[in-house]
Amino acid sequence: MSAAYAAYPTVQLAADGASEHRPLIITLFACFVVATLVITVWAGRQTKNAADFYAGGRQFTGFQNGLAVSGDYMSAASFLGIAGAIALFGYDGFLYSIGFLVAWLVALLLVAEPLRNSGRYTMGDVLAYRMRQRPVRTAAGTSTIVVSIFYLLAQMAGAGVLVSLLLGITSDAGKVAIVGLVGVLMIVYVTIGGMKGTTWVQMVKAVLLIAGTLLITFLILLKFNFNLSDLLGTAASNSGKGSAFLEPGLKYGATSTSKLDFISLGIALVLGTAGLPHILIRFYTVPTAKAARKSVNWAIGIIGSFYLMTIVLGFGAAALLKPGDIIASNKAGNTAAPLAALEIGGGSGSTGGAILLAVISAVAFATILAVVAGLTLASSSSFAHDIYANVIRKGTATEKEEVRAARWATVAIGVVSIGLGAMARDLNVAGLVALAFAVAASANLPTILYSLFWKRFTTQGALWSIYGGLTSAVVLVLFSPVVSGKPTSMFKEADFYWFPLENPGIVSIPLGFLLGWLGSLLSKEEPDKGKYAELEVKSLTGTGAH
């Protein structure tokens, strides 16, 4: 969840000394962009049919897809945000990592393999399998696009702020230009490279991210002679908060409302992942359910190791830097990791520091680009396959027309998110990402689980659950302190909030499950027994899988 912390844009100071290292940082950015464009063109030449465009030809191995899944999942704020949160709030920052990781077990045990076996290109394939196609496809497409756009918006807004900070660009025009550049690149990746190109970009990014994190982690540990207790002790005393810095509560422990908010967030994190469409469609890129299982296992290994390193990165930043310096650079702590890299390399003005800062900044940029490409692909696939081909054209569209629609949808979504991203660059993006996870957990997960495992589930149940979960999550956020009434809100001057929590999960997720159940019980139509037999047998055995 990426950008939970990515942008508290009030502080516009450049990262310490960033501007003097700008040529090096820009060179590394440019290398990544050129390399990924070459990959994209190469992948584009091999993209000949719909299965290539949507599912990368289903030829990736479990390991390759595991890397790509990790690349899709570890977004800029996993890297910068969690490290920054740990650097500022100590232990409470680490709580995020745990929810993000444990969530993968839901995907592994309940979702990845059945989805791979019974779907074709989108999440909607599985949700609509047993149901009346048009209403459920419309609902699935809507929630896919809503979740992806919120997530995308957060990344775009974060991109503007973070890259600006790292490059020392402070003018509004400069930030809009960066959001525009990110948007144009993502349109190019997706329209030309399709799923094949996007998957390779994710893999390259994941390797860079892991390598960069490993390097900094190693250097920090080296400085403390690989004594973790020493590192933690120095971080605690340097933070000025003493041993409280190593205990839960600094961020969420203040009041009973903030504690409830933490529970709500915890539930949304653990149940949201297996309902994120851009993660789910990754499982179609491998040939079998077994390979999908392998992908998740690799992803758990890679993501788990990465989050373990963020502990060192975050506490390392707290130990090496003055808390005042971290906050002065970015209020949310987003630049703590790059600053720690600068410090561990020899400090401001040193060559080692300059190189490490440039490497980490380039990794952060690669991360943002890859994640936005994955999100764009998920939403344009769902538009083309669920809404255009199955609802608008009622299944009469040819494969060529469908892929053409997906490419145009990519351009449209890209343009919309550049526009929204440019406007949203001064918004607090935490709410957007929390909303994406909460909507995924409230609208998508109940319907996926009921579809796969409950024989009495009906079309009405699916619609109630998707629209009910979606609406309740969005409405509760709209009337939460994320949007109005607090100094940290999107609209600071307005005050129309009545829902006390920042994360709606604790209400909207049970509601999504409840509505799915109730809608099915109150439904006049009988569930389609034949279709359920098909779905259940396919999902467990892979019979007739694409």
Binding site: L95, L101, V102, L105, P248, V270, D528, T541, G542, A545
Partner: protein, 121 residues
Amino acid sequence: MATDALPPPGGTDTSPAQPTTESFVEVQESAEFGELRRTYRSFAFPLTVAFIAWYLLYVLLSNYAGGFMGTKLFGNINVALVFGLAQFATTFLIAWLYSRHAAAKLDPKAAAIKSRMEADA
């Protein structure tokens, strides 16, 4: 209801011949498939409940048992950190356990049903 359930449009994304709905119903009601379903569900469902409960316990302790979580075990390593790392460890462990179970108990059963159904289709 069946009228607007469309067959997937054909194309180069080839899949094996699709068995009929009747044969899917037949297999779904067979003892062999029932056994596969039971082997899967009796493993995955309780384990899901267990890891979610274990995770929620961690969330609740972090919220409401600060004193306990702050207890130092050795050096600056406290219960909270060990508990957090234990969540990592159990996640890796459960992933490994499930994969072992699936490879040994589920995959052979699933493959047998799949190859027979596709051969008959």
